[in-house]
Amino acid sequence: MSKKVKNISGQRLAIPRVGVAQAGEIITVPDGFNNPNFEPVKSGESKESTTQKEAAPKQKEDKKNEAE
């Protein structure tokens, strides 16, 4: 499970095991992501960035590794 969140910190942030989110960028994160520098985004509210698309395969890889 994953969800979309928006970086509201005003700065570029690196998220371990997810990727990088520029200021204002919307990215996809695992469902349990819990960070006050991001706010949830309702589906269709805004287009997802390319960064998040790069991050998505990494999350799948992590989940696969966890399962192993």
Partner: protein, 397 residues
């Protein structure tokens, strides 16, 4: 059984708008080490009740929450450290040129610190710095903060059974009669297999609220604060001893001039700066935790090592001669044309030698190994000040 590696944890901090009232921290500061702990002061219940044993239970004692935080001092997190130790003035500058933050002697801000301890987060609120020690192991500026805090929240247990669609949970009062203290709206707490985002924290001290959720848990079920997901800003290098210029002069003006160029700066081979706030932190009525934490008389000390060149410093030691020291640490350039850079300036207006050793050791050059007491300077009407240029806007502090 799960295991947790320290490397995967975090320290997150944020200044508190109201000292002692927790906030959800947003600033992640990479840790070198930490030893924060809650000293609960449990004592054995020694009341005589016919048992042939020392005691059959523990009683509560007054609590303290304290320890050390060790971090590398990069220009951005050093701003927070100075903001905890000194009083920040008005920030000038902008993102292009860098922000300049002035600091003067005075009370620092209270912070909320949150440390992930693997399975749960431990949040300390009302965090004050007792002492900041700035040193250069491996040539990197490292700060050891000795802190005292007004309380902590981390784990608890359910006080009233929950069943069906519920909107509140009530904490047990075994640890404290205000067990929800330190929780904040927006926090995520975990009970059993459920995660709940808080929409309210009851002022009565026991309950927390959330959107209606179907839960079935018995009294005693464990509840804990869920660790945050780490987000790291662009980390800058720490300040380095190799990029520091130390100016020594008869007064602040002369010392600052001396620190202005390599040719006039004094070469030091070891340097440590200790800023101390001598906090009043005492247990009393109202709470098991420190009731309030208040800075008392500030003080500072410098230790440094320089090669012996002449008898001047020994004379200054014996005669208690006033000197001034300005330390300027440079970092990376900020502006694209390299006209501004990360810059820490520490000015000590009146320092006198407490110790000046010229030890003889086989095969070694003789050094002035010096300990200075930082004194109030009546001419300059201050003991010290600091200025920091970095990439962090003043509104963050």
């Amino acid at each position: 059984m799960p295991t947790f590696l320290s490397d995967g944890q975090y320290l997150a901090i944020k200044p508190e708008s109201t000292p002692g009232t927790a906030v959800i921290p947003t600033i992640f500061v990479p840790l070198v080490s930490e030893s924060m702990k809650t000293v609960v002061n449990h004592t054995v219940d020694r009341r005589m009740k016919g048992n042939n044993w020392k005691g059959n239970d523990l009683l509560r004692g007054n609590r303290m929450h304290e320890g050390e935080i060790v971090v590398l001092a990069d220009p951005d997190n050093l701003g927070h450290i100075l903001n905890m130790v000194m009083t920040k003035g008005v920030t000038s500058g902008d993102a292009t040129d860098g922000y300049t933050h002035p600091f003067t002697v005075g009370a620092g801000d209270a912070y909320t610190f949150e440390i992930s301890r693997g399975g749960y987060a431990q949040r300390y609120f009302g965090v004050y710095v007792e002492q900041a020690s700035i040193a250069f192991p491996d040539g990197q500026m490292q700060v050891t903060l000795s802190v005292k805090t007004m309380g902590q929240v981390s784990v608890g247990t359910l006080g009233i059974a929950a069943s069906g669609a519920v909107t509140t949970l009530t904490f047990d009062d075994t640890y404290d009669i205000q067990p929800n203290r330190g929780l904040v709206v927006g926090d995520v707490i975990v009970i059993g297999t459920d995660e709940l985002t808080l929409t309210s924290v009851d002022s009565g001290g026991y309950a927390v609220g959330f959107t209606s959720t179907s839960l079935t848990y018995s009294v005693g079920e464990q509840i804990y604060l869920k660790p945050l997901s780490v987000t790291n800003p662009s980390l800058q290098d720490p300040f380095y001893l190799g990029n520091c210029l130390v100016g020594v002069g008869a007064d602040e003006s002369a010392a600052t001039t001396a620190a202005g160029a390599r040719s006039t700066a004094t070469e030091v081979y070891d340097l440590e700066i200790v800023l101390k706030n001598n906090l009043f932190s005492q247990n009393g009525s109202n709470r098991f935790d420190p009731v309030q934490i208040i800075p008392r008389t500030p003080e500072a000390a410098l230790t440094l090592k320089r090669l012996l060149e002449d008898e001047n410093q020994q004379t200054a030691f014996q005669n208690r001669t006033k000197q001034a020291i300005t330390i300027i640490a440079s970092g990376k350039n900020i502006k694209a044309d390299f006209s501004t850079k990360e810059l820490l300036t520490l000015k000590f207006n009146n320092v006198k030698l407490i110790e000046n050793d010229n030890k003889l050791e086989v095969g070694e050059l003789i050094a002035d190994q010096q300990s200075f007491e930082v004194l109030y300077d009546e001419s300059d009407a201050q003991a010290m000040d600091a200025s920091l240029v970095n990439r962090t806007a003043g509104t963050v502090y």
